[in-house]
Symmetry: C2
Amino acid sequence: MKRISSFPEMVQHLAQADERKRLAVVCPYDEETVGAAQKALDNNFADLIMIGDERLSETLPSALVASPRVTIVNAATPDEAAATAVALVKEGKADILMKGLINTDNFLRAILNKEHGLLEPGKLLTHLSVAQAPAYPKLLFFSDVAVIPYPTLAQRVEMIKYDVATCRKFGIDSPKVALIHFTEKVNPKFPNSVDYTELIKMAGEGEFGDVEMAGPMDVKTACDHHSAAVKGLTSDVCGDADLLIFPNIESGNTFYKTITFFGKADIAGILQGPICPVILSSRSDSAESKFLSIALACLNA
Amino acid sequence: MKRISSFPEMVQHLAQADERKRLAVVCPYDEETVGAAQKALDNNFADLIMIGDERLSETLPSALVASPRVTIVNAATPDEAAATAVALVKEGKADILMKGLINTDNFLRAILNKEHGLLEPGKLLTHLSVAQAPAYPKLLFFSDVAVIPYPTLAQRVEMIKYDVATCRKFGIDSPKVALIHFTEKVNPKFPNSVDYTELIKMAGEGEFGDVEMAGPMDVKTACDHHSAAVKGLTSDVCGDADLLIFPNIESGNTFYKTITFFGKADIAGILQGPICPVILSSRSDSAESKFLSIALACLNA
């Protein structure tokens, strides 16, 4: 497939694919969530299942309610709405799950429920973000800004596998993976840098399929050719990374917040690991960001 | 004094102050370092002491060598150059120290030398950065992106005291200090968030003088009014921070690299703690960034 290098290309690809996904939205009571879902409907890549209480009739536009591609499901409480959505996925009646105005902990509890949830034993729940920033010529994927505070080596392996699989759905055949640290030096004082040596060895042995992996390196070395050149670094990953793996949640979250606010980036994000992609947007996300997250999930489902 | 809200205002303030500092530069063999020092000379806020080997005669412009405000000091090796510069500071003959083309470890060794160095017993060596970003209406101070990987509570206290003192030199009478985390929640699993509670208590008791301090909060909450409003946060610090204190070096370094590359920020940085400000610029810094760091050091000396 042709490589997808921007969000408009991602949306165009989905709109042309003529393959709609069924999006179950838990408590879509806010304008941004409803607007994002409506736009996915209008772009013809999602059908909607809107789950919630009587507020649905107030917040959903009448055209949406009347659409044959929109299903309304009543649920008295947020917890009931989440459980209903999870059950629809398990029954094969929904392809993607999205959080609306429900507390994150309650929403995740339904997904992680051992008996009825969506995460199979041994699977890792991890967050993937995708940014389109004016300073960068292509999409930039990165993990984990929201779920795993301090990944173990095994968790980093799983995270990279999920992320690389998503990169391939964007037509990136050999993703360039940068393992982020604050310096290029491996030092036992910083266990993540030692993990990185192991990950690169595994990548060389084909554990992740066709990828180029390098690190430790800092964000600028990963994304800026000039910085890499001044340092005399010659890896193809330097200055041209597709995927950034952050050492911990503090640095990942700082990158997310800084590239969006100071770097004016558009952003999409999904949870990976459950049997379907999950959109865990937050209240401060714009309708556009929620829409891009739906598109990312649809491409990934 | 009038508050300094941008780098041009900082430079103008120094140029008008008619109070020159003596800048000792260790191994100024690269164009960026020489250009930055020359510009500080031209702006009339620094006299120069250039310390190094025979390469000085090759790299220093003849006009610089001929200036009565420039002193050339010969040193056969980088270590000798660093030791000479440190000795000049101790003898009261230099006000600021700057690193040129010498290995960072060697440079720091001279500063940290227990017998001859510049860090008095019990003092903390810590890094302060200042950014001017198009997305933000004023200068943004932050620590620590380079020296202390995981600060203890006592180290955070010292770091904040240094940083707040520097903010006051910019005419910021009551600096707004944001304690950065990936969420607003305090959680014993994340010891820095517990430290933050203690720091805010100390701030309330006047430990840091006139400051406003809040946290934990993420970078966007600290710098973006809209994000803070959506979350219902009402602290005056939210959306209007002057100083960001990062939980660890990975997040601090990520912020530094992201705000400069993706956020197109100009940046200055100094080491604080030694008996004089120290400029520890790196090879990939531009001449402009090195110049701004000299100005920051001069304002601080």
